[in-house]
């Protein structure tokens, strides 16, 4: 058990709070508990040490942007931009998360107990041994996985605050996708898919992959993994690594 530091964020501006966090890490903190967080931005931004954060309250925009290797658990909802261009690490949000979750994320895993907003997982990409993963227990807004170039998104549609008849995902699902994979549990009308995309049958290895991450999600939030696995998953993957390869004619 490493050195633990507790910081009270009550009334502290984000700049000072993040300075305090960086100072604590420089002084050897391995576990940081943040109390009374109310919208302070950039928590965990560019932290590249395996520090464990426990956040009480609602962290502000761009939490864990550029983060590499830390762990953050949020006891509450999170705002927009969680895991923006994140390189590695793990995030658990015991609530809902806002828009643009995991934008251009390159590695690590984000688990969200309930719903996520619009533009989630846009341009996620995989590289060598890095493959980012997002698991959300609720529903998602439009443009899920747009421009996706790698990694995986698992959307369970189970634990949602949205009306029951609200669709699991929004429009333009996976538009421009040229890598990675999405697994969506439940019915998704074909018209919600981006141009050229279609649903694919699941292989055994898909199910094994889903199980691994759904179990992690269930464990993080005290949910029943078996119930989640009972549903039917639809798989979305790109039709080409070069979706726009043949659109042009050269001139000068």
């Amino acid at each position: 058990m490493g050195k633990k530091v507790t910081l009270d964020a009550d009334g502290v501006y984000y700049k000072q709070l993040n300075e305090q966090i960086r100072d604590a890490i420089r002084n050897g903190a391995e576990e940081i508990e943040l109390l009374n967080v109310r919208g302070q931005r950039y928590i965990g931004n560019a932290i590249d040490k395996p520090v464990k954060f426990l956040v009480h309250g609602v962290p502000g925009q761009d939490m864990a942007a550029f983060m590499r290797g830390a762990f953050i658990r949020v006891e509450g909802n999170a705002q927009d931009g969680v895991g923006n261009t994140m390189d590695d690490g793990e995030i658990e949000i015991n609530g809902m998360a806002g828009d643009v979750l995991g934008y251009a994320m390159r590695g690590g895993r984000i688990l969200v107990k309930q719903d996520v907003g619009y533009r989630v997982g846009i341009h996620m990409k995989a590289y060598m041994d890095k493959a980012p993963i997002i698991v959300a227990g609720g529903k998602a807004g439009d443009f899920l996985g747009e421009y996706m170039a790698g990694g995986a998104i698992i959307l369970l549609g189970m634990d949602s605050t949205m009306p029951e008849n609200a669709p699991i995902t929004g429009r333009s699902l996976g538009t421009g996708m040229h890598g990675g994979v999405m697994y969506i549990r439940g019915e998704v009308p074909e018209y919600q898919l981006g141009p050229g995309l279609s649903f694919h049958p699941l292989e055994e290895e898909d199910m094994a992959f889903i199980r691994t991450h759904v179990e992690a999600w269930a464990k993080a939030f005290g949910k029943d993994a078996e119930e989640a696995m009972k549903g039917t998953f639809r798989k979305v993957k790109p039709f080409s690594k070069r979706p726009y390869g043949n659109m042009y004619v050269g001139t000068n």
Partner: protein, 507 residues
């Protein structure tokens, strides 16, 4: 019966080979990556196919006997002021393929170049001119946010600056090498730009393609770019440079994203961009985390937090209709540098229609942005940089007189290493070894030699700028910044003069 495209023989260029002088050495065959020259076994001599010539002049430059001349195809269509051959050929191609027209390099279209309508002043009799060869002449430039006022305190050791000044980029010349990504151009030229920038005391910009691990040591002379694809962007990259630039737009293709085709992504490019080999690297049109000035502020401060406020953050936009209002928003969002990229700026690939028809001349945008920021009293909050089609040192000095703090150059840098503006960068087969990652082609650029040529260019422009400054009786580039009284317009109408904020020559 048509068995080939109707436009097949409407080639732009013809290869003129002086058979008297040709020694069939096949240098042209080896040099031409488009296979316009070939060895004809039946005739036992070198032959050529005019339809494949792109007019890059590589063969002409390297022919040991000088027997080759690349000429414009003299075959004329019937004169028609509306339907010029360019439009007709575009239509033939689109009839064949249904494709979007794609171009490389900046727009060749004939649109006003306001630099050419601006004349500089010189001292006569009063306020004597200065000879920069014998007297000090300051070109040093600092880019970054400047305080509203400075406070100085007296100490026993003398006066000391009390005001805390934000991070700055220090430039020995008011010029920087503009963003060209590793991938769009190859490693040899990235290394050359890094070496030249270091030697010159200026900076080069990585473009959106990450930074090769071996180039981190040139970090003090590097601006690292963050664009919508976020390729190769991580903590070490952000902290590697002297500044970070958020690329929102590019002059050659305002409003659209980038697209590095899979075939240009080899092992090294893949490593640096952190995307798989052979997969397209697509930069979306917008940053999907920036839909407003408030969102831009969020990214600016995310980057400042990631670098602990050590480096300035720049925001680059294409010069478009509402540039002044946008620039004001950018400055208020916390940017330390604003870059305006004009429509004549280069590109590795852009849809032709966008390149030739979107955006406004950077001269007009610059004058208006400078005005707007001054009117709002926030001009000192950020430095202003212009980019896009700067051809000579006079263009640079005119930009500074109009209100720029520094100028980005890129096309001129490529021309310095051999580019002939053939505009086929998107093929990845650049015979000059510039816009290509093919091993046999890229070795045509030697980093040391290219660095020397880039250094020569900037030094030469620096000398010329000093001469012109001296002629105006100024001994520092700072005295010229936004000093539009040193400019006069020629052949401009009243609206243009009003926008540029300069008087007509004779007034």
């Amino acid at each position: 019966m048509l068995f080939k495209p109707i436009s097949q023989n409407f080639n732009d260029f013809v290869i003129d080979r002086d058979k008297e002088r040709c020694i069939n050495c096949e240098v042209c065959v080896r040099q031409c990556s488009y296979e316009a020259h070939f060895w004809d076994d039946a005739r036992q001599c070198v032959m050529h196919d005019n339809t494949k010539c792109v007019g890059c002049h590589r063969c002409e430059a390297l022919c040991p006997t000088g027997c080759l001349t690349i000429k414009k195809n003299p075959a004329d269509f019937r004169d028609n002021a509306l339907w010029t051959p360019t439009y007709m050929k575009h239509i033939y191609k689109q009839g064949d393929t249904g494709g979007i027209l794609l171009s490389g390099m900046g727009s060749p279209s004939a649109k006003p170049i306001y630099w050419d309508n601006l004349q500089l002043d010189a001292s006569q009799v009063t306020n004597p001119s200065i000879d920069p060869l014998r007297e000090p002449m300051e070109l040093r430039t600092y880019l970054g946010s400047k305080p509203d006022k400075v406070e100085v305190e007296e100490t026993p050791e003398g006066p000391r600056l009390k005001t805390k000044i934000g991070p700055q980029i220090k430039l020995e010349y008011p010029m920087m090498f503009s963003a060209m990504s590793f991938g769009s151009i190859n490693f040899n030229l990235h290394k050359a730009m890094a070496m030249a920038a270091t030697e010159l005391g200026i900076v080069y910009n990585t473009g959106e393609g990450g930074l090769h691990p071996t180039l981190y040591k040139y970090g003090a002379n590097t601006i690292v770019q963050v664009a919508s694809g976020r390729f190769g962007v991580h903590k070490d990259y952000l902290n590697a440079g002297a500044a970070i630039e958020i690329k929102v737009g590019q002059g050659a293709k305002p409003g659209i994203g980038g697209h590095l085709p899979g075939e240009k992504i080899d092992e090294e490019v893949s490593k640096t961009r952190m995307v798989p080999v052979g997969s397209d690297a697509i930069s979306p049109a917008p940053h999907h985390d920036i839909y407003s000035i408030e969102d831009l502020l969020q990214l600016i401060y995310a980057l400042k937090e990631a670098t602990e406020y050590r480096v300035p953050v720049s925001v680059k936009i294409a010069a478009v209709h509402n540039a002044p209002a946008i620039a004001s928003g950018i400055v208020r969002a916390g940017a330390d540098i604003v870059v305006l990229d004009g429509f004549r700026g280069g590109t590795g690939a852009a849809p032709t229609m966008i390149r030739d028809n979107v955006g406004i001349p950077v001269e007009l945008a610059l004058a208006q942005v400078d005005n707007r920021l001054r009117d709002e009293g926030i001009r000192n909050w950020a430095s202003l940089v212009v980019a896009g089609g700067t051809r000579c040192s006079a263009d640079v000095i005119k930009a500074i007189a109009l209100g720029a703090d520094a100028v980005y150059i890129a096309t001129s840098a490529l021309v310095a290493v051999g580019c002939t503006l053939c505009g086929r960068c998107y093929t990845g087969k650049c015979p000059w070894g510039i816009a290509t990652n093919e091993a046999r082609l890229k070795k045509r650029q030697n980093p040391e030699i290219a660095a020397k040529r880039l250094t020569n260019l900037v030094k030469a422009w620096g000398h010329e700028i000093q001469e012109m400054l001296g002629g105006m009786g100024l001994n520092s580039i700072e005295s010229l910044r936004g000093n539009r009284d040193k400019l006069r317009g020629i052949g401009l109408n009243e609206v243009e003069l009003d926008i540029l904020g300069v008087k007509h020559a004779g007034r």
